[in-house]
Symmetry: C2
Amino acid sequence: AARAVDLVKTYAAGAARVVALDSVSIAFPAGRFTAVMGPSGSGKSTLLHCMAALDAPTSGQVFVGGTDVSTLDERQRTWLRRDRIGFVFQAFNLVPTLTAEENIMLPARLARRDPDRRWVDRVIKTVGLRDRLHHRPAQLSGGQQQRVAVARALAGRPEIVFADEPTGNLDSRSGAEVLGLLRAGVTEDGASVVMVTHDPTAAAYADRVMFLADGRLVDELSDPTA
Amino acid sequence: AARAVDLVKTYAAGAARVVALDSVSIAFPAGRFTAVMGPSGSGKSTLLHCMAALDAPTSGQVFVGGTDVSTLDERQRTWLRRDRIGFVFQAFNLVPTLTAEENIMLPARLARRDPDRRWVDRVIKTVGLRDRLHHRPAQLSGGQQQRVAVARALAGRPEIVFADEPTGNLDSRSGAEVLGLLRAGVTEDGASVVMVTHDPTAAAYADRVMFLADGRLVDELSDPTA
Ligand SMILES: Nc1ncnc2c1ncn2[C@@H]1O[C@H](COP(=O)(O)OP(=O)(O)OP(=O)(O)O)[C@@H](O)[C@H]1O
Ligand SMILES: Nc1ncnc2c1ncn2[C@@H]1O[C@H](COP(=O)(O)OP(=O)(O)OP(=O)(O)O)[C@@H](O)[C@H]1O
Ligand SMILES: [Mg+2]
Ligand SMILES: [Mg+2]
């Protein structure tokens, strides 16, 4: 579904140069649930942002569904992100002036797509947001905001879901609901899921776990059990 | 060190009324490490914000170090928050235009206090931020931002530390460093720590765990082990 070849991402921060990704080659198979783990600062969010065409690599290539992302112009890249990819941000990135429901429906509205209302209702009900739909983000708890971010990424039933630590602010029960939904996307729709997590219990929902350290792929584990 | 008596907090959100805290009476003993757990949306952040005088309750009383917080004027409340309380926010609340180091030192500078530089250096070293001090928040990973928020709360060696899910974005090793620092504050300084967490492993560092559900105190556990 998506892969990276010799991916490098460096930043200049004042006098220092930070190598966030140090030549990473990684393949995320279609219709599979892959977890990515590693220490804080090891490059996980950077990897996800490059894979989802939210950020341009310093060098190397990113392929989404066979397409080299660097060959797309800005309009095609926007369409890719809105139509084929769902992204759960580590910091949620909700629109403060919109309600939870408006936030959840926004990508589909921007893409002028009619979302499957029954699926959207199922997502909203499963993550427990039905009586918070008219709240704005500032009127929601941290975990409720996180669940809005998850629902927004899943509402359009995208081919690929990138989820950056989607259960970090959730108790074990709400977390299990979110992970169950991600799993359902794979099992029922054949979606591909790439999830960054620090929680081994969450990683256990994946088919495979990839480990990053210091911007490099250092290990891999198939069929993990917590 | 701090306690609440019949604490009530309600919000009006459009036509609906949300009862975030439903008459909570709770005591956080001085020199103790107390954890607060409960489902997402159960009122934990609301409780911490009321206890730290960051938010005014709808009814009920909050005492910090024996002082009824509602009897303080705005200047005294500001002094209380800056000088005697350290707060780690669930969403970090870092100043985007300041570096990590400036963010960490800000409360002490605002209070015109000279922080104990050896302690600050120990905190910075323990949470692993020594080579990120001149980065601004946007140049930091999610977990690095969280560690800046932790260091900022601890830098002034406050009497009471309120920490709202301080390890949610951290791998187990960085998380253990943060929890070890919180524990050290209690053991070495006699500080009082109140920590909200969803992680039972983190709660195991506490002397006692209080459980919230639907804005009410529902259970308590002494000497928890994971
Ligand atoms: N300004 C507001 N207006 C309306 N409702 C609010 C407001 N702020 C918070 N709430 C509601 O109050 C309840 C408690 O919120 P709180 O942030 O204390 O939960 P929490 O236990 O910290 O949850 P989490 O674990 O998700 O962080 C939630 O149901 C939330 O929707
Ligand atoms: N704009 C930037 N300028 C300089 N360095 C940056 C910038 N953005 C990120 N970094 C650095 O790149 C490294 C990787 O960051 P990234 O956000 O990918 O880590 P992460 O694995 O997601 O960590 P976490 O688990 O804490 O979220 C970090 O060390 C961070 O400090
Ligand atoms: Mg990250
Ligand atoms: Mg909270």
